[in-house]
């Protein structure tokens, strides 16, 4: 699990490059302050990320790690997970109960 979270964070830094925000990463991962501190510290200690020109950037070692796990093109942007087959205009409101087809016949 921890490796997976490290992978997500690393993908985030690779994708966002100079436009990363720690706060945004915290929100994506649902992390609190202490958790994010530990995660960043771990990534720095493992030499996956480092400060380069005053910004946190993925190191060559970090990029290789992403490559070996075939995650070099992972995108944390939620749009990429959008369900394109979902007909947004006809979705039920959350307050409406879903009644399966021919439900009454089955009672």
């Amino acid at each position: 699990m921890n490796d997976y979270i490290e992978l997500l964070a690393l993908s985030y830094f690779r994708k966002k490059q100079n436009n990363y925000e720690i706060h945004e990463l915290m929100q994506i991962l649902g992390f609190g302050q202490q958790q994010i501190d530990e995660l960043i510290q771990k990534l720095i200690t493992k030499n996956f990320i480092e400060y380069n020109m005053n910004l946190l950037q993925v190191t060559e070692k970090g990029l290789n790690y992403l490559l070996t796990l075939n995650c070099n093109n992972c995108d944390l942007n939620e749009d990429s997970y959008e369900l394109f087959k979902l007909d947004k205009e006809n979705v039920l409101s959350i307050s409406n109960p879903y009644v399966p087809e021919k439900f009454l016949k089955k009672i």
């Binding site: 720690i22 706060h23 915290m26 302050q33 501190d37 400060y51």
Partner: protein, 290 residues
């Protein structure tokens, strides 16, 4: 616009948007106001993420060299928002810690967890934040803990500080026996308290008229409590900045819009109740006077 360092060589997303939208934004101003906007823009400070981090590193060096702070008697913290909800301002504190490799045992998200007997070992408390506007946020933050800070050194590390805000904080420190030292990258006077215009009163009138024309609320035009600042950061624009740089309306789009996340209704209940009470009071008073 005063572009810090070599920002044009490496545009961040906000500057890229600025360069793309500039012409459309500038077109919105009446012909007579364009010169005024240009002057204000010339003195505007934009701080990219890279510039912020560079200065946070530099300011930490200054802190270590000039004040000889040691791990044994120093803690680091940040100014929490009034509602206690973490926001993008926390990133200044985060980057300050990571970039300067500060011992995590010295960093406190909440200084209230420090027990009473531990305070006598702490001489220096370092706070990190993006800017000082009126100084109100820092003073409101210190007020409940004023006894804990008595006779201690409080260092406020910040990127951009308004001169009036610094004065307020210093005065608060003197009144409460707290030695407050501001470690800043840049300090500025109010926009219309500087020498940018030959007649500041006329310039204020012009900005007021122009902004009201854009339907910017009156209390937003000169910034929070009229702090008249000219600054924006990579992650947000402080409410101290002149309204027309950051406030969007139905008929005006600003160039550095402030990010205001929508709050759930229950967080505004107290405010709504106060507003209702005030309104009822005014109605009753008006009826009596009739």
């Amino acid at each position: 616009m005063r572009w810090n360092s070599n920002q044009f060589d490496n545009l961040d997303s906000k500057l890229l948007k600025f360069s793309e939208d500039f012409d459309i934004w500038f077109e919105q101003f009446p012909k007579d106001n364009k010169a005024l906007v240009e002057i204000l823009l010339n003195h505007f400070e934009y701080y990219s993420h890279q510039e912020v981090n560079k200065q946070l590193k530099e300011l930490y060096s200054q802190l270590k060299e000039n004040f000889k702070i040691e791990e044994e008697n120093t803690i680091f913290s940040f100014i929490k928002s009034k509602d206690g909800i973490s926001n993008s301002s926390n990133d200044y504190w985060n980057e300050f810690k990571y970039e300067n490799n500060i011992n995590c045992n010295l960093c406190y998200e909440n200084i209230n967890v420090i027990e009473g007997f531990q305070w006598k070992f702490i001489d220096n408390i370092v706070f990190v934040d993006d800017c000082i506007g009126t100084g109100n946020s820092f003073i409101s933050f210190l007020l409940p803990n004023v006894l804990k800070f008595k006779n201690k050194n409080l260092f406020f590390v910040t990127i951009h500080a308004m001169v009036d805000g610094i004065k307020e904080i210093k005065k608060f420190g003197i009144d409460n026996d707290i030695n407050i030292i501001i470690i800043k990258y840049r300090s500025e006077n109010k926009a219309f308290n500087s020498d940018y215009f030959s007649n500041n009163e006329d310039a204020i009138d012009d900005v007021m008229k122009m902004s009201l024309g854009f339907k910017i609320p009156k209390n937003q035009i000169l910034g929070y409590k009229e702090s008249q600042s000219l600054m924006a950061f990579y992650n947000n624009t402080p409410n101290n900045t002149l309204g027309f740089f950051r406030y969007n309306t139905d008929n005006y789009v600003s160039i550095f819009p402030r990010i205001n996340s929508k709050k759930p209704s229950w967080q505004n209940m107290k405010k709504s109740k106060n507003n209702r009470n005030n309104l009822n009071y005014l109605i009753r008073r008006n009826k009596k006077s009739e």
